[in-house]
Symmetry: C2
DNA sequence: AATAAGTTTCAATTATTTTTGAAAGTTTAA
DNA sequence: TTAAACTTTCAAAAATAATTGAAACTTATT
C-alpha cells in the first residue's frame, strides 16, 4: 500500500468509526486528517482533501475546537488560519473523557437522581423501579469517578493503570 | 414526581443518551423500559408504552437480543413472547464492552495495523504518518486489552477496580 | 389440514441529521 | 476608509437513518 492510499484509508476508517459513536463523519475525518499531518493545515486544504464545502469545514472545525482537541495556528506572514490536532493520545483521551462526562454523564446523573428518589409507595413495580434506577445511579457515578481518577494520572495514564491492574 | 412521570422521564433520557452514542433511540428506550420492569413485557405492551409500530418493536428487540442484553421469555399457558433485560449492571457493561470491541475496535485495529506498516520512504510527512498511526495502534490495543482485563474480574469489577486504583 | 395467534421482513414513507453555498461578517493592509 | 482576504452563519437541499404497515411467514390449536 502506498502513502496516499493508506492516509485515505485511515481518514475514511476514522470517519466511519465516528459515526458509530455519535460523532459526525466529517468531524471525525477532519480530526483524522489533522492527526496524521506533520504540519498545520489550512481550511482550503481540508476542503480539498475531503471534498467538502467551506461551511461544513468551518462548522466542524469550530466543533473540534470546542472539544479542545484541535487548535488554530497562525503562520508568520500568512493571512489565513491553520489548524492542528492534539497529537498526544493520553491528552486526547483525557479531553474526550472530560467533555463527554460534562456533556452527557453529568446531566444523566442528575436525571437518575431525580427519578430514583420518588416516593415508592408499596407496589412491587414501583419498588423495583426505584431499586434499579438507584443501582444505575450508583454505577454510573462510580464509573464517572473512576474515569476521572484514571485520567488524573495524566501522563501515560493508560500504561500506569495497566501496571496497577497487573499487581 | 409520581411514578409514571419518573418512568417516562427515565425512558426518554435513556433514549436520548443512546442517540448520542450511536444507538438508535427506540432501541435504547426499549432497553430502558425492560430494565425498570419487574416482570417480562410483551411486544404489545412495548408498542403501547412507547407508541411504536410492531415492525419497529420487532427489529429493535432482535437487535437487543443480538447484543445479548435482552432475553426472550415464555410464560406457561401463554402463546406470546415476553422480554426481559439483563438487569445486573456489571454483566450489562461486560456484554456491551465485548460487543463493541468485537464489532468496532477489532476491525479498527486491523486497519490501523495495515496503514501503519506501509513502507515509509524518507519524507517527513510519511514518517510522521507511520509514527502517529503506530502510536494509535498501540494505544487502542492497550485500551482494548485493559477493558478485557477489567471485565474479567466479572463480579463487581468496577468496585474491585476502584479499590486497586486507590492503593 | 384449516384456522387462528403471533412474529418477521422489507419496500415505501417519514423524520432526522448533515451538507451546501451564498450572503453577511470580520480582520488586515494599503 | 476602502478593498481584498478570509471566516462564519444559516436557510434550503441532500443524504442518511429510522419507522411504518401490510404481506409473508411460523407455530400452535382445534
Amino acid at each position: 500500500m502506498e502513502f496516499k492510499e493508506a492516509k485515505n484509508k485511515f481518514v475514511q476508517t476514522w470517519g466511519a468509526l465516528g459515526s458509530q459513536w455519535g460523532i459526525n463523519k466529517t468531524m471525525a475525518q477532519i480530526h483524522a486528517l489533522l492527526m496524521v499531518s506533520n504540519e498545520p493545515v489550512s481550511m482550503e486544504d481540508i476542503m480539498e482533501e475531503l471534498q467538502i464545502s467551506r461551511g461544513n469545514a468551518s462548522m466542524n472545525l469550530r466543533a473540534l475546537m470546542d472539544w479542545g482537541i484541535v487548535y488554530k495556528e497562525f503562520k508568520a506572514g500568512e493571512r489565513k488560519e491553520f489548524f492542528t490536532a492534539e497529537k498526544d493520545l493520553d491528552e486526547l483521551a483525557v479531553k474526550i473523557s472530560r467533555e463527554r462526562s460534562k456533556r452527557e454523564i453529568k446531566p444523566t446523573l442528575k436525571i437518575l437522581k431525580e427519578v430514583s428518589t420518588i416516593e415508592a409507595k408499596d407496589s412491587a413495580e414501583e419498588k423495583h423501579f426505584v431499586d434499579q434506577t438507584t443501582k444505575l445511579y450508583d454505577f454510573v457515578l462510580k464509573a464517572d469517578n473512576m474515569l476521572d481518577k484514571m485520567t488524573e494520572f495524566n501522563d501515560n495514564w493508560l500504561g500506569k493503570l495497566f501496571i496497577k491492574m497487573m499487581k
